[in-house]
């Protein structure tokens, strides 16, 4: 069974705001029964104040799809429309204390239903701008379509290049065979032959000497953390972003995502990937938290 957070389970077992909403002036339908996920979001917007006064959902889908729908209605109730348009799929996932990478599309569907419902309220047409493929890299939640597109558009030839562009394959490496198959297929389309021998070795950060058995000194530990961040920095820069170590507090490591990474929809996935790498390198359980949370009090959650 999936490792769902307690919050996901709670919103699945006791979903909030279920059903049709009489008098709704914005309805967003996304997904379809063939995909295994379908979500209808109904909202009532006060036309004078632009505030979403009520929201209800009907969902056909798995536990996390139902929980994401429930979370979405809780997040947007009481929000102004313009504010609601800024809600990202990460906001939904964060509200639920995270989702497994295979289930991130449930939160994406929530955001899309919201955009569709608001477009419907405004009398606008809304077009979905993404196509979802099978998940290839589980560490960084990268799907086949995304990799295929980048391999095609940027003439990528090696797994390393794919990792540089998408982060896919930069974690546990189990998906390298899958990435090579995509490379083979797309390269064949453009009349090239994938050269398996050209795959460079994965560059591991320089291992630092361990202190006496039982762990590292604080300084060694921080150096090791910085070495890991350094090793993934080229990938982040490729996307116009960067990451910086801000604070280490026991098992919690605060990292500031800057540039494109700070606003990127994948920021929480990136952080998840960094966390995975750090755990592997340090050989202990740690939690990576965005540095912004260092200053903030815990988020207040409205239960309407």
């Amino acid at each position: 069974m999936w490792d769902y957070s307690d919050k996901v389970k709670e919103h699945f077992f006791q979903p909030r705001n279920v059903g049709a909403l009489p008098g709704a002036n914005g309805i967003g339908d996304v997904g379809s029964i063939s995909c295994g996920d379908a979500l209808r979001l109904s909202i009532i917007v006060n036309e004078d104040t632009d505030v979403i006064e009520d929201a209800k959902f009907q969902t056909f889908g798995c536990g996390s799809a139902i929980a994401s729908s429930s979370a979405l209605t809780e997040i947007i109730k009481g929000m102004k429309v313009e504010e609601a348009l800024k809600v990202t799929n990460d906001d939904i996932a964060d509200f639920l204390d995270g989702l497994p990478p295979e289930k991130m599309h449930c939160s994406v569907m929530g955001r899309e239903a919201l955009q569709a419902a608001i477009a419907n309220f405004k009398g606008e047409a809304w077009a979905d701008d993404h196509e979802e493929g099978a998940l290839v890299c589980k560490c960084f939640a990268v799907d086949e379509k995304l990799i295929e597109g980048l391999v095609r558009n940027h003439n990528l030839r090696t797994v390393q290049e794919v990792t540089n562009y998408t982060k896919a394959g930069g974690g546990c490496c189990a998906c390298h065979e899958g990435i090579e198959e995509i490379l083979m297929r797309v390269m064949e389309e453009r009349g090239e032959i994938f050269n398996a021998d050209s795959v460079p070795e994965i560059v591991e950060p320089e291992p630092l000497p361990l202190a006496a058995k039982g762990g590292m000194t604080t300084v060694q530990r921080i150096r090791r953390i910085e070495a890991v961040i350094e090793s993934i920095r080229p990938n982040l820069r490729m996307d116009g972003g960067d990451a910086e170590l801000v604070e280490v507090d026991g098992n919690t490591i605060y990292i500031k995502m800057t540039g494109a990474c700070s606003s990127c929809g994948m920021a929480s996935m990136t952080i998840g990937g960094i966390q995975q790498r750090l755990m592997e390198e340090l050989g202990e359980f740690i939690k990576v938290v965005p540095a912004e949370k260092l200053a903030q009090p815990p988020r207040k959650v409205a239960h309407g």
Binding site: M1, K9, F12, F13, P15, V18, G19, G28, D29, V30, G31, S32, I33, S34, C35, G36, D37, A38, L39, R40, F57, Q58, T59, F60, G61, C62, G63, S64, A65, I66, P100, E102, K103, E112, A116, A119, W126, A127, D128, E132, A134, L135, E181
Partner: protein, 402 residues
């Protein structure tokens, strides 16, 4: 922790007698069966006894036809790759669209490497077309691999007849029988089946032990080379305790095979009829007239399987689903798709698989638990109205994209 376990096609509890038989082989009789000294000799004798017990359940002519492996998957891979090595000029394989991934994923890989894979389709009840099979059977085929019983629906394939047909044109026949062994009477000495895979943990033995039956005279090449274990056909020190456990499990399975086909079947039918009588818009998938006695696969329309499983789990009931979401893929089970079960139902299929440990009290609890769970999820579904499915669900729900 689930109280009512109805997921025995996934794995089974070890029989306490199996565990009891295994225990001496951890602390006292830990020797290597290949050793000359007394530490090893006793273990060697125990393995010999287990081999006989396995032979008896399979109805094999010789105990040397039993090759011990680590699992069903290893047995499947060994069988298919052996045939390709034995018949290097034959570049075709016949299998079905509804095999276990242990066969399907290997065949997909072999296809990439240049082999031609013929995947026999099934009808809406999961049955094969033997005419199509006959047409494909040519001397270009290296091996036929067809499962005895389907893990999701329990539907049985006529493997004995198919083995005769393969034999008639000189093609090796392998069957993945991990779901059938212990539930269906098997008598390999009277069949033309060349190879057959067994998995211990499906019949109350531990995980990590399997068998490849190899008919005497059938050509074979090992997957693992090394020591002389299994007469050089599968090198690697024997998993002695698990082999002893599997032997005991086979003995017990033989004793209970009638029980499986009477008592367990009665419970399965009671469960199935109890649910069908109370829940609208659900149906049994597969071939109800020709299937394993312990398996019921029910499709609940307009809801999704993972939700059903989570709510069942909350009630202490363990089952499994063919929905996409439980596996993390976007497609529902390949078995449901192969039978052309509509998407409105394929995502909501639930497999209940019983064992000889289940009771009528448990079954009655499940019959009582299922209807409110289905009703609750339908309350959430945009495809379900006040009293039934919305008319023309695909039109009533108008997504901006699909």
């Amino acid at each position: 922790m689930a109280d009512i376990y109805l997921d025995n096609n996934a794995t089974t509890q070890c029989d306490p007698k199996v565990v009891e038989a295994m225990l001496p082989f951890f602390l006292e009789q830990f020797g290597n069966p290949s050793s000359i000294h007394s530490f090893g000799a006793g273990v060697g004798r125990a393995l010999g006894k287990a081999r006989k017990q396995i032979q008896a359940l399979l109805g094999a002519a010789h105990d040397s036809e039993i090759i011990l492996t680590s699992c069903g998957t290893e047995s499947d891979n060994t069988a298919i790759l052996s045939a390709l090595k034995c018949f290097p000029n034959r570049k075709e394989i016949i299998t079905t669209t509804v095999e276990h991934p242990a066969v399907l994923a290997l065949c997909a890989q072999l296809e990439k490497e240049g082999y031609t894979i013929h995947r026999l389709g099934v009808d809406s009840k999961g049955r094969l077309d033997l005419e199509e099979y006959k047409r494909l059977l040519t001397p270009n085929v290296a091996i036929v691999s067809v499962m005895w019983a389907n893990n999701e629906t329990g539907t049985l394939f006529p493997v004995e007849e198919m083995a005769e047909m393969a034999h008639a044109v000189g093609v090796q026949f392998h069957t993945d029988a991990v779901q059938a062994v212990g539930k269906v009477p098997i008598n390999l000495k009277n069949s033309k089946i060349d190879m057959l895979s067994v998995s211990g943990h499906k019949l109350h033995a531990p995980k990590g032990i399997g068998v490849l039956y190899l008919k005497r005279g059938a050509r074979f090449r090992p997957l693992f080379r090394g020591g002389h274990q299994e007469r050089g056909r599968r090198a690697g020190t024997e998993n002695a305790a698990s082999v002893v456990g599997l032997g005991k499990a086979c003995e017990l399975a033989l004793e209970h095979i009638e029980f499986e086909n009477t008592q367990v079947k009665v419970l399965r039918d009671r469960l199935e009829q109890g649910i069908l009588a109370q829940v609208p818009n659900c149906f049994v998938t597969g071939d109800p007239d020709n299937r394993l006695p312990n398996t019921a696969n029910i499709a609940f329309e307009y809801i999704e399987g993972e939700g059903i499983l989570m709510l069942l789990n909350k009630e202490g009931i363990a089952a499994s689903s063919g929905s996409a979401c439980t596996s993390g893929s976007l497609e529902p089970s390949h078995v449901m798709r192969a039978m052309d079960i509509p998407y409105t139902a394929a995502h909501g299929t639930i497999r209940f698989s019983l064992s000889r440990y289940n009771t009528q009290v448990e079954v009655d609890k499940v019959i009582a638990a299922v209807p409110p769970i289905v009703a609750e999820l339908r309350r959430l579904s945009p495809y379900w109205g006040e009293n039934g499915p919305v008319t023309e669900p695909e039109k009533a729900f108008a997504p901006v994209y699909a």
